[in-house]
Symmetry: C2
Subunit: 100 residues, 2 copies
């Protein structure tokens, strides 16, 4: 799979719909077959929500290619380090993606 | 694996430490080898946090036996239905669990 066919979405503080539109753009207009979705801390719920939303609303054949949870050490503005739980979900569009 | 060796923790609104103590109780005093951790909606982050906390603080050999995300339809007090993203994580204690 070429680099172009796998994309990455980093979930942050924006509303769920922003990320849903990015994913649809990637799948339907940028020829992506797989999307890696990453999130940390309280954004983990939104990452899971995004996958379920895409599956229930648009891509009936969407499959979970890979699913991982792990810890990431990050340092904040003041330089102090903290460990955050993280998730990485790789989804595959499946064959018959709808024309949106 | 007998019923007794696999336990279930449902993540709700209580603090993370409550669930950590339940897990330690199950692993160390109730002879559990595996624990299934389930959560819905905004509690999904706490479920992932719990697994990472147990692995980083107590059970270095903790392994992820299974990891699933799905949607659940629930009805609230007024009877209206809504779909919530859910996660189910099955962890295995691993061989050398510490004596706490």
């Amino acid at each position: 799979m070429s680099e172009n066919q796998q994309k990455l979405i980093y979930i942050g503080r924006k509303p769920l719909m922003n990320y849903a539109l990015v994913a649809i753009q990637m799948f339907n207009y940028e020829n992506a077959e797989e999307i890696k979705i990453r999130a940390r801390g309280s954004n983990i719920c939104k990452a899971v929500d995004l996958v379920e939303y895409l599956k229930n609303m648009y891509y009936k054949d969407l499959t979970l290619k890979d699913l991982n949870i792990f810890s990431e050490e990050i340092s904040d503005e003041k330089g102090s380090k903290k460990t955050l739980p993280s998730i990485e979900i790789t989804i595959n569009k499946g064959k018959n993606a709808p024309a949106i």
